[in-house]
C-alpha cells in the first residue's frame, strides 16, 4: 500500500519545479511576457509535464498564487499565536511578512505581477487581507469597551499597510521594509490602545520577536503540494468572536456579500422552479435585494448562474482536496474525498441540484464548465495507479478514471433528481467500493468501503 508521502515525493517535484520556474520567470519578465515555453525551458521539462499539472498559464499562475497565499496565512497565524499580548502578536505577524518579502524577492515580485492575471488573483489577495484585518481587529478585545472602535478601522489599516508595502516591493526597496514596520505598528495600535501606546511602538523600532515554535509549524503543514489548509484550531480565538459580516472569516464575510446572496437566491429559486422557470424576480426575492442590485452584479440570469456554478464548484473542490490530502493513504483519501463531496451536497440540496442537474440545461457555457469540473476529479483517481503491480495496471484502460468519475456523478445526480439529496451520504460505501475495485480488487475494496471512519 502506498502512503501519501511516498506519492507526494513521486508526484510533486515536477509540479514544484514548474511553479518555481513560473515564479522566477514572472518576477523577471512580468505576467504578460511569461509563457509556458519559457517556464518549461527554465524547469527543464516538456509540455506534457506541464499539461499533467495545469490547464494553462492562467491556471498555473493562480495555483502558485493560491499556494503562496495559503502559506502566508499559515505563517501569519503561527506568528500571531506565538505571542501572548495583542501588540506583540501583531508585531510578530508584521515582522514575519517583512522577513518573507526580504528573503524571497522572487516571491515578492510574483505577488505583484500576479495581480495582472485579473479578478481571481485579486480575490485571493483580498481573502488574505481580510485575515490580516481580523488580526488587527483583535485589538478591540484589549479595550474596556470593545465596540468603541469602528469596524472599518482594522480593514483600513490592513489595506493601507498593504499599499505601502506593495509600493516598496514594486520599487525594489524591500530593504526599507523593516523601517516601515514600526510606523505601521504605531498607526495600527493607536485606535485600540491610544496615541501613547502607538508612539511607544514607534520608539521600539523594528523588533522581531524571538523565533517561535517551529515544531508546531511543521506539524500544521501537512501537504506540500497545495491544499495546505490552515486547520481550524490554528485560528486565534479572536477570529471566532468577531462580529459576522465585516471582519469575520472569509466565508462568513462572503455570506453577507450581496453577490453571494444573489448566488444563494438563484440556487433557491432554481430548486423551486427549475432553471428555465426561474426569473430574475424569483432570484431577487429569495436574495432580498433590489432588481437594480441584481443588475449591478450580473447582466443576465445566465451570468448569475455561471457565477453560482463556479462558486459552488470551487467550494466543493476545496473540500474534496482538503479531505483527500488529509488521509493516510490513497484508498482512504478516495473515501475521504467522496465523503466530503457527499456531505457537502447533502447539506446543501439546492446547491447540489444547481451544480449536478441544472448545469446540464443551462446552456453551452455552463455545460463546458460542467465537463471541465468533472474532469478535474480524474487526477484524484489516477494517482491510485502508482505502485500497483503490472497485472493490475494491465486491467486498467486509459479511460478508466473518466468512467469511474462519470459513474459516480451519474449515481449522485440520480439521487438529486429524485429529490433525495439529503440521503446522498448513504451512497458512500457503494461508491467507495465501486471506485476502489479496479485498483485493489473487490474483496479489499469491499473491506475498505465498510470500514468505519
Amino acid at each position: 500500500m502506498l502512503d501519501l508521502e511516498t506519492r507526494e515525493r513521486a508526484a510533486s517535484p515536477e509540479r514544484e519545479r514548474i511553479v518555481e520556474a513560473l515564479i522566477e520567470i514572472a518576477s523577471e519578465r512580468g505576467y504578460a511576457e511569461t509563457t509556458i515555453e519559457l517556464i518549461l525551458d527554465r524547469a527543464g521539462l516538456d509540455r506534457p509535464a506541464f499539461d499533467r499539472h495545469f490547464r494553462g498559464k492562467y491556471d498555473c499562475f493562480l495555483t502558485a498564487w493560491q499556494e503562496i497565499n495559503e502559506g502566508c496565512m499559515r505563517e501569519m497565524l503561527e506568528a500571531f499565536n506565538s505571542q501572548e499580548d495583542w501588540p506583540d502578536r501583531l508585531r510578530a505577524v508584521a515582522c514575519e511578512i517583512v522577513d518573507n518579502l526580504r528573503n524571497d524577492p522572487g516571491r515578492a515580485c510574483f505577488a505583484v505581477e500576479v495581480l495582472s492575471a485579473g479578478d481571481a488573483a485579486r480575490a485571493r489577495r483580498d481573502m488574505t487581507m481580510r485575515v490580516i484585518a481580523s488580526l488587527i481587529d483583535a485589538g478591540r478585545n484589549e479595550m474596556d469597551d470593545p465596540e468603541a472602535v469602528p469596524h472599518t478601522t482594522a480593514e483600513a489599516l490592513a489595506g493601507s499597510a498593504y499599499g505601502q508595502v506593495y509600493a516598496k516591493v514594486v520599487r525594489g526597496e524591500a530593504d526599507e521594509l523593516p523601517a516601515l514596520v514600526p510606523q505601521l505598528m504605531s498607526a495600527a495600535v493607536m485606535p485600540y490602545l491610544g496615541v501613547e501606546a502607538g508612539l511607544a511602538e514607534l520608539a521600539r523600532g523594528f523588533d522581531p520577536p524571538a523565533r517561535y515554535r517551529r515544531d508546531v509549524a511543521k506539524k500544521s503543514s501537512p501537504g506540500k503540494s497545495g491544499g495546505t489548509n490552515v486547520p481550524a484550531e490554528d485560528y486565534p480565538p479572536e477570529l471566532a468572536r468577531l462580529p459576522p459580516g465585516r471582519h469575520g472569516l472569509p466565508r462568513e464575510f462572503v455570506v453577507h456579500n450581496q453577490r453571494e446572496r444573489l448566488i444563494a437566491g438563484l440556487a433557491e429559486a432554481i430548486a423551486e422552479n427549475g432553471y428555465s422557470g426561474t426569473t430574475i424576480a424569483h432570484i431577487t426575492r429569495h436574495a432580498a435585494v433590489s432588481r437594480r442590485t441584481f443588475y449591478e452584479h450580473f447582466s443576465s440570469k445566465d451570468e448569475c448562474f455561471v457565477a453560482a456554478y463556479d462558486t459552488v464548484m470551487e467550494e466543493l473542490r476545496g473540500r474534496v482536496s482538503a479531505a483527500f490530502e488529509g488521509a493516510e493513504d490513497w484508498p482512504h483519501a478516495v473515501k475521504a474525498g467522496i465523503g466530503a463531496m457527499l456531505e457537502f451536497l447533502a447539506a446543501e440540496p439546492s446547491l447540489a441540484r444547481l451544480c449536478m442537474v441544472e448545469a446540464l440545461v443551462a446552456g453551452p457555457v455552463v455545460v463546458e464548465r460542467y465537463d471541465a469540473a468533472i474532469q478535474s476529479f480524474v487526477p484524484y483517481f489516477q494517482s491510485g495507479r502508482e505502485g500497483r503491480p503490472p497485472e493490475v495496471l494491465a486491467r486498467l484502460s486509459p479511460t478508466t478514471e473518466e468512467a469511474l468519475v462519470g459513474g459516480m456523478v451519474s449515481l449522485i445526480s440520480r439521487r438529486i433528481i429524485a429529490g433525495k439529496a439529503e440521503e446522498l451520504e448513504e451512497l458512500l460505501p457503494d461508491l467507495v467500493e465501486f471506485i476502489l475495485t479496479p485498483y485493489v480488487g473487490s474483496a479489499e475494496a469491499a473491506k475498505l468501503a465498510q470500514e468505519p471512519d
Partner: protein, 216 residues
C-alpha cells in the same frame, strides 16, 4: 490636445471630446473590467472616430492615466472647496471627507475605474496609486499642528490614513456596496482624526454632521 493654431471652436470641441472619451473609458471599464476594454469599445461608446481618439490619447493606458488624473484633480477640488468653508481642522476633515464620499457616490463609473483599477492592476498601477494618495496627504498633515504629539507621530501616518480610506472604498465598490459609501462618513472621520486628537475627541467630531451641504 491639438496645437494652438486651430480656431477656438475646434479647441472647445476637442476639450469636450476628451471628457467624453474619458467618460466612455470609465463606463466601459465598469461594465467589463479595464483589461477587457479596447480602444474600439471606447470609440464606439463615445461616438467618435478612431482618429479622434488617437488625436487625444496615444493609447488606452494614456487615456486611463488622464482619467485618473482628472478624477483626482476633481475630487481634490471638491474636498478643498468644502473644507475651506469650515474654520477648524477637524471640522475640515469632516466636511472634506463628506464631499469626497459624495463625489465617489455620484460619479460611480469614474470613481470605480480609478479606485478599483489602482488597487487591482499590476506594478504599472502603483505609481498612479501613490500619486493619488499623495494628493490628499497634505490635507491631513495639517492635523499635526493641532495635535499635542504632532512632532512625534509616525512619518507615514497620513499615507496610512489616505490609503486606508481608499482601501475601504475599494472594498465597498468590489462588494457592490457603492451606494452606501456615504454611510461610512462617521467611521472614516473617526479613523482619520483619532491619531491626532485621541479617540474620544475624534468620536465626538465624527458624530457631528459635516458643516457643508453634501447635496451640493
Amino acid at each position: 490636445m491639438p496645437p494652438g493654431r486651430h480656431p477656438l471652436p475646434r479647441e472647445f470641441i476637442a476639450q469636450h471630446q476628451r471628457a467624453r472619451i474619458i467618460a466612455a473609458l470609465a463606463e466601459e471599464t465598469v461594465e467589463k473590467g479595464y483589461r477587457a476594454v479596447t480602444v474600439a469599445d471606447i470609440v464606439r461608446r463615445a461616438g467618435i472616430a478612431r482618429n479622434t481618439f488617437y488625436e487625444n490619447f496615444s493609447s488606452k493606458e494614456d487615456c486611463f492615466l488622464a482619467a485618473s488624473e482628472f478624477a483626482v484633480k476633481e475630487a481634490l477640488r471638491r474636498v478643498v472647496d468644502a473644507a475651506s468653508k469650515v474654520d477648524t481642522w477637524p471640522g475640515r476633515v469632516n466636511a472634506g471627507l463628506a464631499a469626497f464620499l459624495h463625489y465617489v457616490a455620484t460619479e460611480p463609473a469614474l470613481a470605480r475605474t480609478c479606485i478599483v483599477e489602482a488597487l487591482s492592476a499590476g506594478p504599472a498601477a502603483v505609481e498612479r496609486y501613490e500619486r493619488s494618495i499623495q494628493a490628499f496627504v497634505p490635507l491631513f498633515r495639517m492635523g499635526r499642528k493641532v495635535s499635542s504629539k504632532g512632532d512625534e507621530l509616525p512619518g507615514t501616518l497620513e499615507e496610512t490614513i489616505v490609503g486606508g480610506i481608499f482601501w475601504i472604498l475599494y472594498q465597498r465598490i468590489i462588494m457592490g456596496q457603492a451606494e452606501q459609501i456615504e454611510d461610512l462618513l462617521a467611521e472614516l472621520v473617526e479613523f482619520s482624526l483619532t491619531p491626532y486628537l485621541g479617540a474620544e475627541a475624534a468620536k465626538r467630531i465624527a458624530a457631528e454632521p459635516p458643516s457643508t451641504p453634501s447635496a451640493g
